[in-house]
């Protein structure tokens, strides 16, 4: 339908022409990757993006250790005797992100500010929410949810899209028609609504958020891969592999897919950023991490009731989303520039 022409243009914009940039041979492909790395290392904005991603990744890792690993270890008396408990780290420094503290001081402003509820203190650097829970700690734990869900759903879409797109592009004919019509159909239902309907049908928790967002983004990757496969398919080395009697499956996954992967990697990086926003939107509407598990979207949803008395509450989660997504966008753009010097934005 209509979207196909539109899409090929977008891909043109995304990839430009990169002939000769990395040709089919494995050795040359390696050189291509090394070249890309060098380019990225020279690009300050890409490095800033990478630094942000790494920083958020570390926070997510600490939060995961705190919530999951410590929670698991605390079951054993050896560790609990050592003082290990779930949210050990958070409890030592601030307050439990999931459970109400004993003495809640709700809706405190950040350090150095004052509102009707009191003065901001270093005990809660970014203030507290309506139940007196520390906002900074909850932001940390929100990072874990945001990063996990966004990355896992992107990987799902990447795998699904690679299979669908490469099969469609390689075989062509009615296989292509059926798969691409199906992709277009999924694409035509507004993304958020599709995921919400999916989650209503199967479950409202995070697992289904990941699967739903993943499935809904398969078409994006499928079409990107397909357009690459269509051009790679005609290359001499694929012809040679076919003549040498290789199975279709081997040709697709050993030769065609690896050589179509560069633009997909760029798209995947950008997609993680998009998915962070979408997952936040879902949690904002009540689809996703269920309370008391803190997520950015859900924090924003509960902050809606306190926009007037404590606007700070709603500023932080949004800033966290903004910074993280900027990181993925900067890195994705840098990667794209490195892969395609022709459309470089420098």
């Amino acid at each position: 339908m209509a979207t196909r022409d539109a899409d090929s243009t977008r891909i043109d914009v995304l990839e430009g022409d990169r002939e000769g940039d990395e040709s089919g041979e494995a050795a040359e492909a390696n050189v291509g990757w090394r070249y890309t790395l060098i380019q990225v290392r020279r690009d300050p904005t890409a490095l800033v993006g990478l630094a942000i991603i790494a920083f958020m990744g570390v926070i997510a890792l600490i939060a995961t250790i705190d919530a999951v690993v410590f929670g698991y270890l605390a079951q054993y008396s050896f560790f609990s005797n050592l003082g290990v408990e779930q949210y050990w780290f958070a409890r030592t420094y601030w307050v439990n992100p999931a459970i109400d503290p004993a003495n809640p001081t709700p809706l405190l402003p950040p350090v150095g500010f004052e509102n009707t509820f009191g003065q901001g203190t270093w005990a809660h650097p970014l203030g507290t929410d309506a139940r007196g829970r520390d906002i900074l700690v909850r932001l940390f734990y929100g990072t874990r949810i945001a990063m996990t869900v966004a990355v896992v759903s992107t990987v799902l879409a990447l795998v699904g899209g690679t299979i669908v797109g490469s099969v469609a592009g390689y075989y062509g004919g009615w296989t292509d028609d059926v798969l691409m019509r199906a992709s277009e159909t999924i694409f035509a239902i507004p993304f958020l609504i599709l995921v919400i309907a999916f989650m209503t049908a199967f479950g409202r928790d995070l697992t289904f958020a990941m699967v739903g967002v993943g499935i809904a983004t398969i078409p994006t990757f499928a079409r990107l891969i397909r357009s690459r496969v269509l051009s790679v398919r005609e290359e001499d080395y694929v012809e040679a592999a076919r003549a040498a009697g290789l199975k279709d499956r081997d040709i697709i996954f050993r030769h065609v897919v690896p050589n179509s992967f560069a633009p997909v990697l760029v798209q995947a990086t950008l997609q993680v950023g998009i998915n962070i926003i979408i997952v936040a939107g879902l949690s904002f509407l009540g689809f996703g991490a269920q309370p008391p598990t803190p997520s950015w979207g859900q924090m924003l949803a509960s902050s809606r009731g306190y926009l007037l008395p404590n606007p700070w509450y709603s500023i932080w989660p949004g800033l966290a989303i903004l910074v993280t997504v900027v990181g993925f966008n900067l890195f994705g753009d840098g990667l794209r520039d490195a892969l395609d010097p022709r459309i470089s934005n420098q």
Partner: protein, 332 residues
């Protein structure tokens, strides 16, 4: 003539997609736990009553029969009865759809009006301060959730400086007598514009940023094309090149992005309507889902899918209109 046939062909190609949308929404709705029986009769209905209701809704039939029946009634313009509101789904949609279309239209109008000049200036003053500022604006714009922008706008413009209202949207076509403090149609329009400002900014920023980025890179690409270099070599003034040679060709990828942004924008409308408590399609679909109003879920999803399909077809047609190279498909 060619354009007419092209339009007809595009619309014909959209038919399988629309069929697909009905199938997906039907299957998803069918998978939602619970059925109208439990919603209408409460927790423990008698077997007889339940069977009667099932028969009334045709729920005792196999899935494919129900789908076929659903398709038939959709073709007749009947989207069923909303259980929650107790009115036909079409009436509810007719009530809400104009609100969402208004919101989408004003957001895209804002986005295009801001993005096109911003992108062009950015490309023209490449790597100058103006370019950097516009690139940062665009980057932040594509990285910010629209509903958070909405919350921030409410905090600043509705609560702190009190320039614009945050809730109870006034529609420009509302009767004059129904609007507080309005004595004429112009008053209503002014009040409606004020009410629409914050939701428009909230929903339009992402679109604006995405279009700015593509406008800039597309403009840069065109400006480095051979024919532009040639024009420069002939001594054609830079502004003439921008206006007469580069502008039109640079708009092609921009049109594409506008079409593709529509699906994001419809999703964004659900969030924006929630933030600003607007009674549009987005809040309607959420109400439908929360209350397990199956017919309403299917109807609203189908209609929003249609809005997208129509949007993309319109984009494609304007594409063909701007770019004479697009064949109208005779040779394809």
């Amino acid at each position: 003539m060619g354009l007419m046939r092209y339009t007809a062909r595009r619309l014909a190609q959209a038919v399988p997609v629309v069929m697909g949308i009905t199938l997906i929404t039907f299957l998803l709705t069918d998978a939602i736990p619970g059925d109208p029986v439990s919603i209408m009769l409460g927790p423990s209905p008698s077997a007889q009553q339940a069977a009667a209701i099932r028969a009334q809704f045709g729920l005792d039939r196999p899935l494919y029969v129900r789908y076929f029946n659903y398709l038939l009634s959709v073709l007749q313009g009947d989207l069923g009865q909303s259980l929650y509101y107790g009115v036909p789904v079409t009436r509810k949609i007719a009530e809400r759809l104009p609100v969402t279309i208004l919101l989408l239209a004003s957001s895209f109008a804002f986005a295009i009006a801001a993005a096109v000049p911003l992108g062009i200036i950015s490309a023209k003053r490449r790597n100058k301060p103006t370019d950097h500022v516009s690139r940062v604006v665009a980057l932040v714009g594509v990285s910010t959730p629209s509903f958070w922008i909405g919350l921030m706008l409410i905090i600043i413009f509705a609560y702190q400086v009190q320039w614009f209202p945050a809730t109870s949207l006034v529609l420009p076509w509302a009767p004059v007598s129904a609007v507080d403090g309005a004595s004429s149609r112009i008053d209503v329009l002014v009040i409606a514009a004020k009410h629409l400002t914050l939701p428009t900014l909230s929903l339009g920023t992402l679109q604006m940023a995405a279009i700015t980025r593509i406008e800039r890179s597309s403009m840069l690409e065109v400006l480095s094309a051979e024919y532009v270099k040639l024009a420069r070599a002939y001594g054609v003034p830079e502004t003439t090149i921008l206006r007469r040679h580069a502008f039109r060709n640079a708009q092609l990828p921009v049109i594409t992005i506008v079409g593709l942004q529509l699906t994001t924008a419809i999703g964004g409308a659900v969030l924006t309507e929630t933030v600003f408590s607007i009674s549009g399609m987005g809040t309607l679909i959420l109400t439908a889902i929360v209350n397990q109003d199956f017919q309403l879920v299917m109807g609203t999803t189908l209609v929003l899918g249609l809005v997208f399909v129509v949007g993309v077809v319109v984009t494609d047609i304007s594409y063909a209109y701007v770019d004479p190279r697009v064949s109208y498909g005779e040779g394809e």
